[in-house]
Subunit: 359 residues, 4 copies
């Protein structure tokens, strides 16, 4: 595919809302050199307004801050001040709840990483390789709210890879129940996030509100679009969330009860062969492959596997029978790429491809 | 209780087999000042024979090497060379399989931390606060094997705290099924053990043979002694084992299906109030309390809770309903104290109290 | 010595100012069971007033919060509200600058861990085993400021062990110059302190204002009391300060040019044999020994050596010739015990012994 | 420059000796897609012979094992079995001492990361941006030893960046003395290398033989080629070596006495502007830039700066006056790229450019 062609030649100018935080930085880094999008505005909270991005931002990524971003002035998150059709939101949830609707009302498609609107019935909770059809909710959203823009969300970072795995299993065999125990990286808590004294040589067996998201969000994404809303998938999920001293990469131990008996070989095939709908496959951020299945007993590991497929691939290993349910496995995905900024960008690419972003 | 009185005045001379490794060091440290036992012999593998303990041992504990141990000469693991009634074994499994029976045949009670003999029908797999009656197997063991001594084992470090928790639940409500996902400290792998390059900022989602032990050992300990053997408890267990960058303290996420409905309050009461049999309570190493139930949402943590009760208490937190099974919780225990050397010593104390060690 | 006798029977009631922070917690923990002092008041900032200590304090120490502290109400740092002769200050520097003089004016001896007053000419910067005579400054301080109480400070955590080492060398041979490169634990930055994303698997080669303190404070403590002030010692110091992923224990690489030639054996003897003035030796918190010299090439290490002497001893190792200056060594001390709360308590004990605290 | 053209079209077949270790893996990874070199042979110790690289190698790098390497058979380190002109040696020192001369005698140019031959008078200790002219020693080496090949070494990983910095200062102002205190990553110790129990949350203040190398090797590289040997530079160096819990990237705190007074601005200019000899600049592995000078007070950091210039750039920060010597700074370089495999490859490129590798 010719990515340049897809949107007619000129990269689309976009905004990054909440650009100075950890996820905001990841947006800026991933959009550097993006074939379809060009960052035209960076927003921040009041005390950073007017400063340049380089001055206001305590950059925490190993990849260097892009040159073009350094001198960009930080603006308020005010849609009236910018003439754009697309915005990426790395806003904290409180602020997202206020600000994102203003942008949507102003005609902007907001691809949001915030949890604020994920549970609303007319807001897609979207992973392109899982439920690209859920973007139809946008039409109801626009009608119902009188917006010319819209809000589209991506799920919690921890559940992203798990949902991809569950989708592959659901398509193949059905899924009844699943246990999920996460070992999550500190970057998932943003910056400054987790105090070092709490996590050096330690485990925190609790992350506020995380388990609730892990137990609910997959059911919306794996649910069936039924007219103007999504019927939640009937899958019972039980989650334990833990923080571990890892910088990037969320690991989830997953035990699944399938809808019908399947051999390990069939399960492996269903995972490895999973591709997602045609429309999700050949976008700039599409994971290649969607799922990588590792055979070595000691994989996936965050240090070694988080960057597979540019950080967009879901890496699975240790597939084996489960003595209680059917199969056990370990699922890894990169929490600030596949699980956050990369997810929103991939969503935006799908929306462009579906013609939902005015170009 | 007057501990000194319990064994009639003079501390019993004991051997530590495999004294230079990480668990061997923990035996030496915990036996420093023990009211009933006095270390009279330290054994090591061939290349250390004749050296002093201080010279041969790369000490890895924060607690200092006891003064009396420094100049002790390292001996071969040969029961003929020492006149002792009690030995603690920190031998690696291969070597334990050969050596421990020689000691038992020679009249020595061997309290072993090795996995070599745990699955044998006439060998107790023992936690005093869980199954003190299983020491009756010793009589069958002696008759069957023609030994005047015996071998008594303690379980795998990861499953120790979990088994205490399951026992409290079993007594209260019955237990049908449990999911166990461990986040294990590196000291569990001994020394040198896990290479730092593998675990710094990383998770290893695999520990060889660990899950098999986690799924089987509790069933023996929670089983019913039936004449000359233990009938395994009918509990389905499913385990995921992970290594995390923590020095000491194994954390386990536990989801349990009880035998009958119980409120969270009842479950909390059953855990907190659990005491074990009378005979296990007032020994020098008895955990005080057996179980500590933490109410704070972010406990237990290895850094903050591993040393509760001198490292012998099982610390439980995050008790809450489980959407699939009945209850979820997090269980922590100190892996080289409650889960290894401290376990063997506590076992030996029980055997002394039961009159199974000749004094 | 009979510690109880020393102050006439009843423990002295004391306040801990700024009790909820990391150093404040260490004061509370170290004062638990102290033979001379009993905590009678805990103070905190406005938003914690009226709460109990257990409710307001996010406890970060592995040692449990003392039972007696749990239900104590938090008070404002107002000397009028408490009838006490002695206060320990864990206040942040800004607040210490305002509050500590109010206490001193009100007749309270303030033993402060804050840096606010360390550079003032009439305020002792005190380590009992180094410069106990500097407490004479208190008389000038009281006359000059019209206070019935006083302020006595302890030095920066990083420089504490180094100053003890330099004092032993100074007494033995004179000291001309020293290079100091620190590898500092995160607990030195308080709580929440260093964000985990900044320090996991990383080194921060900069700690604001730290090198200035490292280069100046030893010169005051090693200086000669000359009438009403201290003449700074003429020692050139050059410091590099680094933060490393360690929880407790500051390591300093030290190269020293002595005033006169000395063999390594003589230097070792001077370090190991160093005792400090008679008056500093037999106090409840006196380090025993003052300096521990380790012979093993790979010591001192924070994990293994920070708690020597209950965390009050300065541990030195790797003594060897320096190709440029005279000798090189590595110095370790526990940063929140010897380097912070323990230092203030030890100072207070000296003041009691010197009759400077009204009893 | 057209790299392909430089060696006439076809990539030169090369061997990697000791390919399964941590540095061997880095060679394989860095040579993947190299414009001049193509890996034609991988060697390993006896127990791996005949296995494929994928089977014998426990891959520890985050970058994936190149596809072409997976099925390559492991061979003995025997020059008679391969027809090659160039070999990269990641052999351990003992084995390098035996094996490398066999290759050199057989006509192979050996670019070695081992320390075995670094101190020999006729063996270049080489950093292309520092002392490219030292390759003239090769002629003496060949004459003296009767070899048609040769051995060329790169320095110890810790001293690499420091030597680049010292060279820039030497050219600008002269250098008299320098203090070097390292904070080294665990990957510098190979695999399995440092046990995790030794380094998690800890500092090891000792690395065997490291300080001796740090104090000697720069003097050879900064020395003047005088006929058939190098006259060591007259610079006094004093080193402290520490291991810290970092995966990749060695940090060195450096204090330098210059040959003549210079302002900080002049020093900054000398560092930033340093380029090395013309011949070292435009090679495939040339660092771009040679030195990056960071202005932010909290840089360089291993996590954020080790990969600057593809891991070949020396990153310097915290330039400031030194109270004893002239200037202080912090120097970072990537220990397995610039400090090991990348160094040998860069050396080989220089040798090709100089016509010392027969093509």
């Amino acid at each position: 595919m010719n990515h340049e062609f897809a949107i007619g030649g000129n990269p689309l100018p976009v905004a990054v809302l909440g650009a100075t935080g950890a996820v905001g930085q990841r947006f800026v880094q991933l959009l550097d050199g993006h074939p379809w999008f060009r960052v035209a505005a960076l927003t921040a909270s009041e005390r950073s307004l007017g400063k340049t991005y380089a001055d206001a931002c305590h950059w925490v990524l190993p990849e260097p801050m892009p040159i073009w971003a350094r001198q960009m002035p930080l603006m308020a998150s005010d849609p009236g001040q910018m003439d754009l059709r697309l915005a990426f939101s790395a806003l904290p949830s409180d602020s997202a709840r206020q600000v994102e609707p203003l942008f949507a009302a102003h005609g902007v498609v907001v691809c949001s990483n915030a949890s604020a609107h994920r549970q609303e019935a007319d807001v897609p909770l979207l992973l392109p390789e899982v439920n690209p059809g859920h973007t139809h909710l946008v039409y109801h959203q626009q009608v119902q709210r009188g917006w010319s823009g819209c809000i589209v969300t991506n799920p919690n970072c921890t559940i992203t890879g798990v949902t991809v795995a569950l989708k592959a299993l659901l398509d193949g065999f059905g899924v009844e129940q699943a246990f999920l125990v996460s070992l999550q990286a500190v970057s998932g808590a943003g910056y400054p996030g987790v105090p070092s004294l709490d996590i050096l040589g330690n485990v925190l067996p609790y992350i506020p509100d995380e388990e609730e998201k892990m137990e609910w969000e997959p059911r919306k994404m794996l649910g069936r679009l039924d007219g103007e809303q999504v019927e939640l998938a009937r899958i019972d999920l039980s989650a334990h969330a833990n923080r571990v001293p890892v910088a990037e990469g969320h690991t989830v131990c997953l035990s699944v009860q399938l809808g019908r008996r399947a051999s390990l070989g069939e399960v492996a095939e269903a995972l490895e062969g999973y591709q997602g709908a045609e429309i999700s496959r050949d976008l700039p951020s599409s994971p290649r492959p969607v799922i990588r299945l590792r055979q070595e007993p000691d994989h996936p590991q965050p240090r070694l596997d988080a960057m597979v497929g540019g950080g967009m691939t879901t890496v699975i290993g240790r597939l084996r029978p489960d003595p209680i349910l059917d199969v056990k496995m370990v699922v890894l995905s990169h929490n600030t790429i596949r699980g956050a900024a990369g997810a929103s960008i991939y969503n935006a690419e799908l929306l462009v491809r579906q013609g939902l972003v005015a170009i």
